[in-house]
Structure formats: C-alpha cells, structure tokens
C-alpha cells in the first residue's frame, strides 16, 4: 500500500464526515403525533440514577416491571452522571428520551434535539399541578416539550452527632465552615458555581446578581473566588452520589450539599444524618421527561411519559428519590409509602419552590434579550470548574 493511497482514503473519510456533519439542521419539527400507535418492543432511556427502578434494591419500589408487562416495551436505561452528559447522550440519537433537569432541557430544546409533546394524548397530564406546566424549562412558545417527573431542592446535609444544632443557612459550608475543614462535601460539577452565586446574592448585594446561572464577569469572578476559598478550606467534591453516601457513612464527611435521595439512603442504614433547606434558598431541579425528535420507539415513549405521571409510578419514584410528586393523586399514593412525604417535599408549596433556582444553562447572552449584557457561558463555567478542582 502506498502512503498516498492511505492519505487519500483518510481525506475521503474526512470529506464524507464533513458532508454528514453539516447536513444536520437544528430546526425542530412541530409535527406532533395525533394518536399513540401500537407500542414498539423497546424503549431506550437516559435517566438520573434511581428514576427507573425494578425493585432490585427494594421490591416495594418497582415501576418499570409493571410498565413492561402492561405495554410490552422493554426498558433499557443509561444513567447520566451530569446534565451535560445527558445532553450528549441524547444528541447521539440513540435514545427515545430521558429525564432531564433544566440545564439540559433548555439546551435540548434550543438545539432541536427533542420534539414537542402532544399532551392531549396523555391521560394523566390533566392531573398535574398547574405550577409545573408550561414553565421555561419544559416548554417553548407555549408548547409543552415534555412532562414533569418531580422536583426538589439541593439540600444541606449534616451529621447530627457532629453538627448538633440544625443549620439555617449555607454559612457552614462557606465562611463559617473552618471547623469542618476537610469534611465538607460539595457537588462536584460546574453547576455548583450557581450555589456560590446564591450565597453571594445574600452576602454581597452590591454584585447585583439577579440570576445565579447568568453571571457577568465581576459576578462570576466573585463566585469563583468564594469557591476557591471553600476549596482551600478542604472541600471534598462528590461526583457520584455513592461517594457522598460512603463518605458520610464513614464519617469522612460531616456537612455538605446533597439530594434528599442520599439522605434517605443514609437514614435507612441508621446513619445520623439530616438535611435542611437553608433560608437563602437553594439550587434545585424540576425534571422533565422529553422525547427525541427522531425517537425510534415514540409510542413506547409516549406510554412511558403517561406512566410516569400516574399516581403509582410517580408516587413510588418521587418517594424513592426524595422529591416532590407532580399530582395530587401521586401525592396520595406517595403518602401510603412514606407518610408525610408531600409535606416534607412541599409538593404543593409554590412559595417554597419560589426560593429554588432550578438548574439552567449559563449562556453568553444571559438568556435575556438585552444585547448590552454578556455573561459567562457553559464553557467558561466548565473551564473555571476544571481550574478550581484540577490545580
């Protein structure tokens, strides 16, 4: 084989690649199905771990098997480690849909990866709390792009044997945290910069932060400086929630940001761990099931979305993960599994959730129409996060 032949082949590959690459159009199609057809045999989902349980850990929590039995759609799931990974998996085009947080849904809608959903085909949609419908993170131009799964805040967890008095603010993980040096557990993704920004909204009003996800240079620098101080105070970053669970269980961690899910797991093992929502408010999530515009199994996906709004499935899933159910019916069901669940998660308490900043994607245009303002985009956040944790 001559060298020139090899190079020629490579060039050809590159050209074909380029041709295919430019062919993709970001325009979303607005062709929504008018009915749900016959179920296909399979359904491929991207999920947050714990969003599709088969009763393998606790037989009482199984909302996948009934769905499979009922519809014949065999469910395959892939966990996403972060919203960005979820976006990337979704863009591979291999999945029918997934459960995405706000910082994924906005990008998926913008890139046209996901399709609008004809909610009139979903019988359980009518029951959903109005406060969860037609929000910025799950709709565009008044058209629904998915259905809600559940919502919850990122909480402050603490070991009750070490932190004897329940904290009411985030201070213990920021300035006031020196007594817990090296034992502060921090969510290990760039989204956590927003948590710093929320703290700054309280402590440094001069920065005029109005949205913790859209930060201009000065605001951003202040947030990063705060995070650096926290790092130097011995923050331990968790990438998978099992890191955090084993850290708390082992006593290596005593306080930090968490999800209700980990707290439930730790409490189930008898660990002295509690969680609170501090007064400043918090970041949080309101997750949405979305369907890929070219889903290979659209009927199964529609059936799944409807299933996940049913009282049984939503009740189980939200109790399992420790988040708020999405309908009164689900709330009722959830109470049978875990009494007091809806109050605990403030399922109907819109005032409570007004203090929660749902995850969103940082954008160069600040996600507003004011051309004069510029903000740090996702790449800048990722880079800052790499600098923070990598050096």
């Amino acid at each position: 084989m001559k060298r020139s032949t090899v190079l020629g082949m490579l060039a050809a590959v590159a050209l074909v690649a380029a041709a295919c690459g430019t062919g993709a159009s970001p325009k979303p199609s607005l062709d929504m199905p008018s009915s749900i057809g016959e179920a296909e045999d399979e359904l491929n989902l991207i999920i947050w771990a714990g969003y599709a349980e088969r009763g393998e850990v606790d037989p009482a929590y199984d909302w996948v098997t009934p769905f499979e039995t009922e519809t014949g759609c065999k469910v395959n799931t892939t966990d996403m480690g972060s919203s960005a990974e979820g976006v990337q998996l979704m863009e591979s085009g291999q999945y029918d849909g997934g459960s995405f947080s706000g910082n994924a849904t906005d990008r998926l809608m913008a890139s046209g990866t996901v399709a609008p959903v004809n909610v009139s085909l979903l019988s359980n949609y009518a029951n959903v709390f109005e406060g969860l419908k037609n929000k910025a993170h799950n709709s565009k131009d008044g058209v629904a792009y998915g259905v809600p799964h559940g919502r919850g805040p990122n909480l402050l967890a603490y070991n009750t044997e070490v932190v004897t008095e329940a904290p009411t603010s985030w201070d213990p993980i920021w300035e006031g945290g020196s007594e817990y040096a090296g034992k502060i557990s921090i969510y290990g993704y760039s989204d956590f910069i927003a948590d710093a920004a929320i703290h700054l909204m309280e402590t440094t009003p001069d920065l005029k932060i109005t949205n913790p996800y859209q930060l201009n240079q000065a605001q951003f620098d202040a947030a990063v400086a705060l995070l650096e101080a926290q790092r130097d105070n011995g923050a331990v970053y968790w990438a998978s929630y099992s890191d955090q669970v084993s850290g708390f269980a082992a006593g290596d961690l005593v306080i930090g940001t968490t999800w209700q899910f980990q707290v439930n797991l730790l409490q189930a093992e008898g660990e002295p761990v509690e969680a609170v929502l501090p007064d400043e408010g918090s970041t949080g999530w309101s997750d949405t099931w979305m369907i890929h515009k070219d889903a290979a199994h659209p009927n199964c996906m529609y059936l799944w979305m409807n299933h996940m709004m049913s009282a049984e499935a939503n009740g189980q899933a939200t109790v399992w993960f420790g988040e708020a159910p999405t309908s009164p019916q689900a709330c009722t069901y959830a109470e049978t599994l875990s009494p007091g669940h809806c109050d605990l998660t403030h399922a109907t308490d819109e005032a409570y959730y007004s203090k929660i900043w749902y995850w969103a994607t940082p954008r160069a245009d600040c996600a507003d129409t004011d051309a004069a303002t510029t903000c740090k985009d996702q790449a800048a956040w990722t880079e800052a996060w790499t600098s923070l944790t990598g050096s």
Binding site: G93, S242, S246
Partner: protein
C-alpha cells in the same frame, strides 16, 4: 550462579512481598463478598452467601454478561482474521511501509483508551452509525488485533519457511499451502492469541463506555455504574470476585496451550 546467598535471600523476600501486594486487594475483595452488611465496613460483621444468589438473579448482571460474551466473541473473531493476515503479510512479504504496520497495529493499545474512545464515538456520531453491540465490537476489535498479530508473528518468525517452500515444490498452490502447512503451524498461536484477545475485550471498560449503545451494557460497564450506586455494592463485590476468579481460565488455558510462551504479555 553469580548471586551471593544474601542477594538470593533478599530477592526471595522482595518476591514474596510483591506477590502479597498483588494478591492483597483480591483477598479483601473476596472477604467483602461474604459480608452481610450492605455498607462496606471493616472488619466484616458476619458471613453470608446471600449476595451470590442476588447477583445470579440480577437481570442487569445477566444481560451485561451476555453482552460481554457476545462482544468478546465477535471482536476476537475479527481480530483473529485481521491479526493473522497482517502478521502473515509482514512476516512473509517484503514491501514498502512494512515497518510501519507493527507501529500502526500497536497504536490502539498504546494510545490512551479515552482518546480511542472519543475518536470512535465522534466518528460514529458524525456518520450516523447506530450505537449498539456492533460499535462496541468495532472498538474492541481495533485494539485486539495487535494481540493476535503479536502472537502469530512471533510464531511465524520461529516457523521455518522451508516447509512452505516444500509444499509449493510438491505442487500445492498458495492457498493450499496456507491451509495445510502454515495454518496448522500457527494453530496454538491463534488459540492463545484469541484467548488473550477475548480476555482483553471482556475486561475493557473505557472504550466500551464511549462506544456502547442503549441496552448494550457490558459487565465492566455495569460494575462502573453500580459503584456509583451504593445500594448495589454487595452485588458488585460478588461480581468483581467472580470476574477475578474467572481470569484464571484464560491464564491457565494459555499456559497449557503455549507452555512458557504466554509468559510474554501478548504472545
């Protein structure tokens, strides 16, 4: 023997320490597999065989094992064909660029898996290739070829060429000679090469993560994901232990087939 007694004793101790180092984590793994507690706490609180039953009944584990077996078998088959062809061409022909071939073949295993993984994933995405078992197989075959190639070329180097010439001399054409003389000479090299390629594929995780499609989780992928889920750790203990024990099979077989030859990493 040029080594003094003291040197020999010191080497014996160093060897014993190194072997203990190699086996210590595997022993801990084995102990944890029988630990009844869901959490990993040392020392173990008791003894149970229960997790083995749970692992055996876990449908995700079973699916992952099947996927791993399939991917390994397919990747090994491709690697056997490509590796043998390449080794035969390099060892038995002279041509321009011959020296570069071994370099090209060793690249996929010498370059970091994360690079190979991203490159393949980006390429598949660009061409709209559906991710699934086949994309895993393509990734695995790419780095398994060199294992077969190294095994076969080492054998070809040792095989005298005169029997092939004798075969041609006695009237056999190239294909007949290859089938009746060359191939039988390479048989054990192919077996041990194939075995090691299979073991490598069965164990690979980084490239697999990048090339897997929905529903095609392999067993190492399952472990990786399960490590992130504390509730599954007892089952991870068991699966990990079983995988470690299973690695005896290729080692033992390769040793039997090739005698001392398998001492070298890849041949």
């Amino acid at each position: 023997m040029v080594e003094s007694r003291a040197v020999r004793i010191a080497l014996r101790i160093a060897t014993a320490l190194a072997v203990s180092f190699l086996y210590m984590p595997l022993v801990i793994l084995a102990i944890y597999a029988f630990n009844p507690s869901r959490l990993l706490v040392w020392p173990p609180t008791g003894f149970t065989l229960g997790w083995f039953g749970e692992a055996a009944a876990n449908p995700a584990v079973i699916r992952a094992v099947i996927n791993s077996l399939l991917a390994g078998a397919l990747a090994t088959s491709i690697a056997l064909v490509l590796g043998t062809l390449a080794a035969y061409a390099v060892q038995r022909y002279r041509f321009f660029g011959r020296e570069s071939i071994s370099f090209l073949l060793v690249l996929p295993i010498a370059l970091p898996g994360v690079v190979t993984g991203i490159a393949l994933r980006t390429t598949f995405t660009t061409f709209g290739v559906d991710f699934g078992l086949m994309t895993i197989v393509i990734g695995h075959a790419t780095f398994c070829v060199v294992i077969v190639y190294n095994n076969v070329i080492a054998r070809l180097r040792r095989l005298p060429r005169s029997p092939e010439e004798a075969s041609a001399d006695l009237g056999a054409d190239a294909a007949t000679t290859f089938r009746r003389i060359t191939l039988p000479g390479m048989r054990t090299a192919l077996l041990s090469g194939g075995l090691l390629a299979f073991a490598l594929s069965f164990d690979e995780v980084i490239v697999t993560i990048f090339t897997a499609g929905p529903g095609t989780q392999t067993i190492p992928m399952w472990i990786y994901q399960a490590i992130g889920r504390p509730t599954e750790l007892p089952v991870v203990n068991v699966v990990a232990l079983v995988l470690v024990l299973l690695s005896v099979i290729p080692v033992w077989l390769a040793q039997r087939i090739a005698g001392g030859e398998a001492a070298s990493l890849s041949r």
